[in-house]
């Protein structure tokens, strides 16, 4: 069974352990600015929302890539960036309607969540289980995926604002 990240913002305390773990795993430094998961803070409501790629089935980034640099990991279901093919054109960064693939100026390539090859460090670092890695069919990420289809031309263009 394919697994996926489930994010439950109600449990997030904004401790940023996930960002630290992510940047350390992927960039070798403890630097939230280089994290592929990002916690957004809503001061007015006192809410924290961790946010990263949903590995959406539309794979906007992969479709838009002109040079075959984003591919599907058949084991984890993640869309992964192949550093050696990426030319840094950034077209994927404007194509992804979730804003979850980003340009990294220091490497000249794009970066996105790759589920750490099946052992996502954000989930293991999260002390409150706001981020968990579970069987795909029970994910709360469905909501975000629905969002993806709203952006898809294949469906109705009347978007709700639930």
């Amino acid at each position: 069974m394919e697994k996926s990240l489930v994010i439950n913002p109600d449990k997030c305390t904004g401790c940023l352990q996930c960002e630290m773990a992510c940047s350390y795993e992927n960039e070798g430094v403890f630097n939230p600015a280089k994290s592929r998961i990002k916690v957004f803070t809503f001061h007015q409501e006192g809410r924290f929302v961790p946010y990263t790629c949903t590995q959406c089935s539309e794979a906007w980034c992969q479709q838009a890539c002109p040079v075959d640099a984003i591919s599907l990991n058949l084991v984890t279901g993640a869309k992964e960036v192949n550093e050696s093919s990426c030319v840094g054109c950034k077209v994927c960064t404007i194509s992804c309607p979730f804003g979850t693939i980003n340009y990294n100026q220091s490497s000249g390539k794009v970066i996105k969540c790759d589920l750490c090859g099946g052992d996502p460090k954000c989930a293991s670092a999260c002390p409150t289980q706001a981020i968990t890695y579970v069987d795909a069919d029970q994910t709360g990420l469905d909501k975000m995926r629905q969002w993806a289809t709203q952006t898809d031309n294949a469906t109705s263009n009347t978007a709700s604002n639930a």
Binding site: F40, P66, G88, P97, N102, T158
Partner: protein, 412 residues
């Protein structure tokens, strides 16, 4: 069922692969008019700056990728389409019969009708062949004149500089990339380029190109002294590649006319990508956007409609661009120039070359343009395409346009 796709750019490749996914038994033929494997024009700048070799421009890196998918590549130009007999005539005189046809022949570069434009050392920068020729001549210390500071001109500018040439850019309009930037952003981009040693002449025009003594070319300008050059690159415009269709009964305007299924006036003929005059999401006009994201979106939707009998309505593509000019990254999306009765929220920091301009219509974001803002930028597409009602976030964005991502997350 035999599907034929004419043109193996991004649109044709995505279409043929999607047809295969939807119909395991179909016969699929992908016709490319060049000897190279299917490649992306978008990768040309990176080839020019030697970040990649030619292989790196290929749309699929595994050499047998098409073979494995049961897609037959044909290496010939199509010279005629006979829709009455469902037949294509190829340039070697042979014929192919289709059940359904997709035309995705892209665009071709054009040149202004000025004296000397056909000289030996004048090139477009549109094909790999062009790029090879440019690479041969754009060597360190050579002088290069780039005609046109539109999107394509600007996107190759950095690669040319990285080749060590002395670069002068001549642009007819009053600013750089007028079709994706307003005066503030275009002006900032120009001063950024000048600070990096590029000479940019705006509101200027090349009136002719003649032979010279010291250098191969003399480029004569309308308002200033002539420039001498080893090489001239002409990036003044493109037009859709429909010449071979003129004898057919497929309806053409600026490109191939299509409906909301990307179907032409001929029932079993579809069109996609730069060659198709498709629907613009923002103003619901039928126009040619000539960008990669639209080309692949068209390709995917056309494929579905060809296999599943018009089951997928195309509600329009959002025009969007991202451009990196020597480290200064600019973007534009949708109706970045604003709409009647709309409102805007603007942040300008000239010293740091940062700019963000959001355009609203009522509670909806309809477009943005930016300089120096790249993180989570794709969410703009989500906000526009999802027609997200911003509610309280409209006011918040009016006060601080940088909070786009929060506005999005708060609304899902």
């Amino acid at each position: 069922m035999h599907y034929i796709i004419i043109g193996a750019g991004p649109s044709g490749v995505i279409a043929s692969e999607n047809i295969r996914k939807l119909d395991q038994n179909a016969q699929i033929t992908l016709i490319k008019g060049h000897k190279e494997p299917p490649y992306s024009r978008m990768a040309i700048p990176y080839f020019l700056e030697e970040k990649i070799t030619e292989d790196g421009t290929h749309i699929r890196h595994k050499s047998n990728s098409f073979n494995e998918q049961g897609i037959t590549l044909v290496n010939e130009l199509v010279s005629e389409v006979k829709t009455k007999d469902n037949t294509l005539v190829l340039s070697d005189g042979s014929e192919l019969v289709y059940d359904k046809l997709l035309v995705s022949t892209g665009a071709i570069a054009t040149s202004p009708p000025i004296e000397g434009i056909n000289s030996n050392h004048v090139y477009n920068c549109w094909t790999l062949e062009d790029a090879r020729n440019i690479a041969k001549k754009a060597i360190p210390g050579s002088s290069l004149v780039l005609m046109g500071a539109g999107f394509i001109g600007c996107i190759i500018l950095e690669s040319l500089l990285k080749r060590g040439v002395n670069l002068t850019v001549v642009e007819m309009g009053d600013r750089m990339v007028p079709r994706m930037m307003d005066e503030s952003a275009g002006g900032l981009l120009k001063s950024w380029c000048e600070s990096k040693g590029v000479r940019i002449l705006t509101s200027e025009q090349v009136i002719s190109i003649s032979e010279a003594k010291a250098k191969p070319l003399q480029v004569n300008l309308k308002n200033s002294d002539p420039l001498s050059a080893d090489l001239v690159i002409c990036a003044t415009g493109v037009k859709s590649n429909t010449g071979f269709l003129e004898s057919s009964d497929i309806k053409l305007d600026q490109g191939i006319l299509v409906n909301e299924f990307l179907q032409t006036n001929i029932e079993n003929v579809y069109a996609s990508g730069d060659v198709a005059q498709g629907l613009d999401f923002s103003d619901q006009s039928w126009s040619i956007q000539a960008i990669q994201p639209t080309a692949v979106e068209h390709g995917r939707i056309a494929a579905i409609n060809m296999v599943e009998n018009n089951s997928c309505v195309h509600h329009g593509s959002i025009n969007m661009n991202i451009l990196d000019t020597m480290g200064l990254i600019s973007t534009s999306f949708g109706q970045w120039m604003g709409v009647e009765g709309g409102e805007e929220s603007v942040l300008l920091d000239e010293q740091n070359f940062r700019y963000l301009n959001l355009q609203f219509k009522g509670e909806h974001l309809v477009g943005i343009s930016s300089l120096g803002h790249t993180q989570h930028i794709g969410v703009v597409r989500g906000l526009i395409r999802g027609k997200v009602k911003l509610g309280v976030w409209k006011e918040r964005l009016m006060n601080d346009p940088t909070r786009l991502m929060e506005a999005y997350i708060a609304n899902i």
